[in-house]
Each structure stands twice: as structure tokens, then as C-alpha cells.
Amino acid sequence: MRRLLLPWALAAIVFVALPYIVPDYYVGLVTKMLIFALFAMSLDLMIGYVGLASLGHAAFFGLGGYTVGLLGLKAHVSEWIALPAGVLVATLGGVLFAFLALRARGSYFLMITLALAQVVWGIAFGWRTLTGGDDGLPGIKRPTFFISLADQTAFYYFVVLLVGLSAIALTMIVRSPFGLALLGIRESETRMRALGFNVWRHQFVAFVFAAAFAGLAGALFVYQNKFVNPAFLHVVMSAEALIMVILGGVGTLLGPAIGAGLIIFLEDFISSQTQRWLLILGIIYVVTTLFAPRGLIGLYRDFVARRSKP
């Protein structure tokens, strides 16, 4: 147990010290990395633990984002209500999607999650009077929770806190008896049923959890950018989350967080050099699938295994 505490403590020190070491721009970039780490970890709960690959996870990210945006801008609701409401709406979206998508398996599940997410995108895009259509909703204010988070550094610490707490919560979930049951369902649904587990109910709860955490990530990202547009819930957003999970290593939580950091860094770096980010993203997909199907964590484990037996 003590051995496990050390990396956590080190990580905490690094994250606290960061704004004193790097320029503001990078504090913003690391904030974005943390938010996407949460988004990717929430998707990993689906893919890596229950074994259901969703192609529409951005729907919950966007639902959380649009909810805080609309409540703040149009209803002038306090952030104390808007942020929890963002998570709640994403959670309810998860409930609805789960009812429709969990009837299906395999390829049908992939297609249905993708199609449902595109419906949400279609609403955000088409309902101009409410959502501003393609232009989105600009002018969303950073919230004040006891202290104003308008400042980049203050907002960064807020994100560190919430993402940190969420990471702990997700880790507890996957290590609990419930988490082990999810792994069992990934491996063999028929065996789990024979052991007395209600497989559907487990998948449902995991799906809703994943949606809730994705909603929190989306709400935070809207606060960071101070605007929201349909790109927040587009297929490309789902696809980025998916490759973060695969690139990092499915079913490890830490891997997807690392994958998120790497993809966000690459996107930032490549976008400053060229317009061809989508092309690079596609190539990352193909290369990862061909050469690192178990992700960076998998490569690292293979490396360690090879060194330990010469």
C-alpha cells in the first residue's frame, strides 16, 4: 500500500507546482489534458471494463457542456446549480442511450451509439434559436466557487481537484466487487449469468457512470473555453476519445489518461505547424491498431517482461 502512495504523492506535487514552473499557455494546455484524461477514462470504463465500445461518447461530453452553457447564458442560473445540472443531464442522456443501445451487441451497439450521438449533434446544429447552431454559444463565464476561477491558474487548480477526485472515484469503482463483475462480463456474459449476475443491469450502471463522468469533463471544457459549439459532440470528438483510450492502453485507466495527454499535446503541436491534424489523427489510428493494439501501457509491459527474462 505504501509503495502505491508514492507515485500519487509525486503526481500531486508536480501538479501543484506546475503553474510556478511553466508559462500560462502551458498551464492552459495541461488543464485541457486533464479534462480529456477524465473524458478518456470515462470511456475506458465502457471499453476496457464492460467490453462495450461506444462510438458516441462525445454526446455526453457535449450534453454536459451545453447544459452549463445554456443555464449560465440563457437562464442566468448560479454555477452551484449549473455544474451539477450539467452532470445530471449527461447522466440522464446516458440512461436514455443505455436503454436503446444495450438491447444490441457488437456491431449494432457501435452503430447505434454513433447514430444516437449524431442525433444530439443534429439538435445542437439545427436548433439555432436555442443553441446558436453552427456558431455555438460564445460568452460563457468562468464560474466562481468561493473564489473566482476567471484566472487561468485558479481554474487549473479547480480542474486538478475535480479530475483528481474523479480519478480516485473511477479507480475505486474498477477495484470494487462491481468493477470485477464488469471484467467478468467483458470476458463471458453467459458465465456471469450462470453465476447469478444480472448482466444487463451491470452494463446499464457502468454506461450511466461513464456518461456522468464524460458530462463533468464536457462542462469543465466549456468553462475553460468560455464557449460551446456542435464540435463538442461531433463524431470527431468521440473518435479522439476513442484513440486516447486505445493509444494509452485499454482497461488500465492510467493508460487512457496518458493517451489523452499525448493526443492533446500532438494536436496542439501539429495544429501550430500544419492544417493536416485530421490526417495525422487517422494515421495514429492505423499505426496504433497495427503496431500497438494494447497501447503504450501494453508496450511498456512487454518491455518490462522482456527485460526480466533475458
Binding site: A53, A104, G126, I243
Partner: protein, 283 residues
Amino acid sequence: MIWIIHTLNGVSLGMLLFLLAAGLSLIYGLMKILNLTHGSYYLVGAYIGSTVIEKTGSFALALIVAPLAVALLGVAMERFFLRRFHLDELPQTLLTFGFLFIIADLCLWIWGGDAILLPKPALFSTSIAIGGNFYPTYRLLLIVVGFAVAGVLWWFQEHTRIGAMLRAGVDDAETARALGIDVSLLFTVVFAVGAFLAALGGVLGGPIIGASPGADFDVMLLAFVVVIVGGLGSLRGALVGGLLVGLLDNFGKIFFPEFALFTIFVPMAIILSFRPTGLFGRA
């Protein structure tokens, strides 16, 4: 008599969707690959078609060149990439997802970001009177071509050797292999046919839907709904689903312009909750 016009519009869109969904459905039925690149085949078909028409002025030539070029693209994807992950669902999906982005960005690079509409062939750029309204003959051509392709595919599947192999393969690939059917060649043929049909849809749809960045997603999405409704692996499902979605989309845009997608997705959700494998799909 405006209803006739709307219905014809719906049916002609339905026939285009059938061209896309037929390939998607056959590829899935035989290889269990969910091909997310299928909308890209449409887009590349439309773009190549536009270039051919621009250079030669011949729509007929575009109808041959573009589908053949895209069929080659499909064969390359199947032979060099997808084949390595036979029956492994997640990596196959990821690969096709990757190709979707690569192709989308290359198209943007080559053909630019402006939406283009292909010119109609001279022979079908006129209109005829139907019940007091003028109706473009090009859309009628689409309906005729769609039914003709459906007829050819059906005949091919029921009455030829390759069709029989295909049916055997869809039912049970392992048994088909044991019977001495060259499954490997069959996979490539089906992928080529699927990509060919999607690109044919791209050229034929070019004068009415056009080509633009993002059209690949939109078209793929509609094709997905068609196969979700009709059932994966079934030609009949692709035809019925295509017509249904084409009509729903057309009338939806008239009645609920801000929520057009709903008129497609609400029926999809209803069908799904009663038949999770679609109208003609097998469990």
C-alpha cells in the same frame, strides 16, 4: 399532387441509400466488418466523378471510372489492412475509423472545402409533367437505376455460382471454407463490389446531394440507419430500409425542418426496441 413529387423525391433518395447500404450490409454479412469508410467511398466517388466530368465532359465515363477507382481503394484496404484482423471487431472498426479521417483530410486537400454539385448528364437535364408539376427526369433515372441494380444484385445472389458462395459464406464462413470455397477471394470481391456501389451512389447522387467535407459522415450515418432498420447482411433489408429512410427523411424535412433527423431516428428507435436485429436481420 405535390405528394407525388415528395414521394418521388423520397424514393429516389431511398435508391441512393440502397446503393450505399447494400455494400455495407454485404460486407458485414460476410466478414463481420463494420465499415466506417463506406461514406468516404461515396465522397471519393463523387469527387473523382466531378474531376472526370470537368476534364472530359462525359457523365457516362465518370460513372465507370470513379466506381472502379474506388473499388481498387476498397480492395487495397481489405487486402493490406482489414484482413490481418479477421473477425476481430475492435481493431477492424478502429482501422476503418482511421481511414475515414485520412480520406476526409486528403479529399479536403485535393478538392478543397467548397461544396460542389455535379452537372447532370445532358440527356436527363429536362423535366416532364407529372400531375400538373414538372419533375426532373434525372430523379426518375435514379429510381430506375436503383431498381435495376437491386434486380441485378438479386439475380447475382440467387442464380450465379459466386452468389451461391456468398449466401453460404454469410450463413457460415467456416463451413463455406470447409466446402472448398475460396473465401479469401470472395472477401475481396465483396469489398470491391461494396466500394463500387457506394462510389456509383456518389456519382449518381452528385447532381442532387453533391460532395462537400462532412458529406462522408452524413451519408455514412444515413446508411447506418438503413442497415439498423433493415438488418445487417440482408439485401432485402437494405432495399426496404433505404426506401423507408429516404421517404422519412424527405417528409421529415418538410414537416419539422429544425429536427429533420428525428423523423429518421424515432422510427429507428421504435423498430430497434421491437426487433433489435432490424426488420430482416438474423440474430
